[in-house]
Symmetry: C2
């Protein structure tokens, strides 16, 4: 389908164009696609039914992926006593400046302040210290789905808010090797989810010390590149070594009769993912949702619906698709077909089916793909097959397009001047070698306004000197601007 | 199976007997069946994997029942600004004494205190005022699954804790009649869930004004009677009329071109349900779980598992049941069969399958029911059928037993002396007529230590004078002690 044809069909005009103002385009979408609403609670958002249904689908898929690796779900209190938060030094330094403090219960002042969890390492560790006695009690592979609070100054729906929904896995292991393997395993679960379920290509790599989680020995990350060339940290997996185990005295009797400290990991993803989906796949007509998480995968729009037999035929299509396990909606409201086309484009419904009197006479219907508006005429007897193929093709096309965007926006720099000029002129990743010194990392932030996104796994070095200081460098880093 | 036989088989001795100390029996179970753990956060509990899996199953069933009636899930912020909480007078008076207050974000004092939601009527109303403009926007039937906080003085796992998990539905309607119908509909969803899924008979009725929800016009309740004769409020459904709509200015333009206030309902159940299951079905060997919510529905325990073919046969049973959608666990650990029997009895697993060399030779296995320890020898070719039948029979038996307990513990009183002596000597419900005056309700609390549980739907009066004051009375009330 030609570019022109696509333009002709642009039916939604109330949102800002991406190229004009990407930030405003984003905000328009989250509001107009009915994903969120604001409230009088500053920095927090209301997740509306259409947005929450996406989150429910994300949860369902990830939870099944987690459980397939042996994860068990639990629920920890939402409050952390100040003394407990302070037990691990790096951790409290990382989080104390941004927690919300509860000081009163009813009319009484609490003897000790409680923070609303910004993350729950401390609570999990306290519990693990209580239940882990022997090597037979290991591993423990727990997760919880909950909301957490971080008192951010600047907030944006899904991307950064004072309260957000997430999952946090916390695991305990007998050996350092087992903890490392679990850290990598969960990173790969995230990467697979992004790539195979959401059609979002991700870099897998390690965070620099500056960017790693407060208290972790190593943080691994999956980084996705948004349409505008800014990066989004999609999920992280941390190896804590036995630092927390020492702070919380989590010891077990091993089978050699020695008391040993356990090794810990943690890993999490949040409602940020929804922001990532919007900014990766969305276009000037609104959301484009990967079928796996789309609340409605197929919308059926009857044409000339008041004519004899049209609604009956549309309902039959609906029943057929529904019976095949496809999330389908028939919109038989009084709105015009044109209004409906634009409404479900805004909401990112992957496939639209149009059916009218002429189609019915020919035992056909029209399937239109949301991403490229490609039309196909389908024999109704092959409907389920055609829809499944359409959903698969759309997912593949989303992935291919996002990958091309990343490839087109990935640059390399050998010298500082080169890096600065790319950072000034382009938007995307800049691959460059790094000596490993914090000083160089800070300087790149200062002079080029880029931060280290990750040290990628399995990529060859592209030089042997630091892009910043010129000294010997072994680490390849992806630099960029990030959400 | 005889009572003696049952005693012979009592394998778990570490918990307090129910008749000896019901409260201690309860606490023993929640700990020893690994449902919860305590933490340094006073009044809050950790829900461990086995307890949380029960909650996940409850959520799955209820959520499907809700969605079948048109409910959509959303997520509201966990904080409520003090000014918003104060907008409806009765509501704030009901909740302000027991909320947790956030006063600081990071190092900064907030300009307005935020309470951690004790319930979210105010947030839903603020949002509804924002999105409801026309009669076309109605009804709105939203629900959220979340945790809430009430600063209780005395706490008990599942029954009363400072933080608990629940769902809260909040709906808006065009007419008072429609709101009333939704209030009753959701009460019936709860009642069906308790009776058909959990095997817990419930009374359906209305709360007195004294016991109704802060701000509601009417509160309906399902009340379950525990093994010890104390009542548990299982779930409530509230009709708010248009009181909140007036306080929050939720108006819509009706099709007669008049601006009108919308009518509201709310309804909720919580992790209390788990406490109710324990106290309804549990026995001196531990938990007894209804199959619908049991994390493990069938446990397979191999006998003489080191003999040739035993584990293979046990695994085959497991695969067969698993393929039939039954939640099954094979325990092939090194513990003795006796230890395993007692472990899974403590955990309330509905059916146990034993299989050893002799069974295998005869193509049989043994199925033992958790509730009455009845054994049946089953041909392996009929396994799935026998297991499904066993699960159904167990659920029916749980219901029948709980109903008998309620019937045995339901008394009637026509005079005050009679009521007092029943309240002193027996434990259970006392049916008695009531004039409707708060004074009499308070007096019964004072002299007999009973509270009104509900005014039951569809029950005939048992007299025409108030049990307390002797004046004319039209209302039949179930009185009792409650958790």
């Amino acid at each position: 389908m030609s570019q022109n044809n696509q333009k002709d069909k642009k039916l939604v005009t109330e949102i800002t164009a991406m190229d004009e103002d990407f930030a405003k385009w984003y905000t328009d979408i989250v509001k107009k696609a009915d994903l969120i609403d604001y409230s009088s609670v500053k920095g927090c958002m209301i997740i509306r039914p259409y947005g929450y249904a996406i989150w429910e689908n994300i949860q369902k898929i990830l939870d099944a992926r987690f459980k397939a690796t042996g994860v068990e779900n639990v629920y920890m209190p939402m409050f952390i006593p100040e003394s407990l938060l302070k037990k691990e030094k790096d951790h409290v330094e990382g989080f104390a400046p941004e927690v919300a403090w509860v000081t009163h219960g009813g009319d009484e002042k609490l003897t000790e302040r409680l923070c609303v969890r910004p993350t729950s390492e401390t609570l999990f560790c306290e519990h693990y210290a209580n239940i882990i006695k022997s090597y037979r009690d290991l591993p423990k592979v727990y997760n919880q789905w909950c909301s957490v609070v971080r008192w951010e100054k600047t907030t944006r729906p899904f991307l950064r808010s004072r309260e957000f929904l997430w999952q946090e896995g916390h695991t305990m292991h007998r050996t350092a090797e087992e903890a490392e393997a679990r850290t990598v395993q969960m990173l790969n679960v995230y990467a697979d989810f992004f790539e195979k379920d959401l059609g979002m290509p991700v870099l897998r790599g390690q965070k620099t010390d500056k960017e790693k989680f407060a208290g972790a020995e190593a943080t691994y990350t999956v980084e996705a590149l948004m349409h505008d060339g800014k990066a989004l940290q999609g999920g992280t997996s941390h190896n804590f070594g036995n630092g927390f185990a020492k702070a919380f005295n989590i010891q077990f009797l091993d089978n050699d009769n020695q008391l040993k400290y356990a090794y810990e990991t943690s890993w999490g993803v949040s409602t940020r993912i929804i922001g990532g989906i919007i900014m990766t796949h969305g276009d000037d007509s609104g959301l484009v949702l990967p079928p796996s998480v789309a609340p409605i995968q197929v919308v059926i729009i009857p044409v000339q619906q008041h004519k004899d037999g049209v609604l009956e035929a549309a309902n039959k299509l609906k029943d057929t698709l529904s019976a095949a396990g496809i999330r389908v909606k028939l919109d038989d409201s009084d709105q015009s077909p044109g209004w409906k086309f634009s409404e479900y484009e805004m909401k990112g419904v992957p496939l639209r089916i149009e059916i009218g009197p002429r189609d019915i006479a020919e035992n056909k219907c029209v399937i239109v793909r949301r991403d490229n508006r490609e039309k196909s005429f389908v024999n109704i007897d092959n409907l389920v097959e055609a829809v499944n193929e359409g959903l698969d093709n759309l997912l593949n096309a989303l992935y291919t397009k996002a990958l091309a965007n990343r490839e087109n926006r990935t640059y390399s720099a050998a010298e500082l001047d080169e890096l600065i000029s790319i950072a000034n002129e382009k938007s995307g990743y800049i691959k460059a070698m790094w000596c490993g010194d914090l000083e160089c990392e800070l300087k790149l932030k200062e002079v080029a306004d880029v931060s280290s996104r990750c040290i990628p796994f399995n990529e060859e070095p592209i030089g042997d000197t630091c892009v910043c200081c010129g000294r010997a460098a072994k680490k390849l880093v992806y630099w960029g601007k990030a959400y």
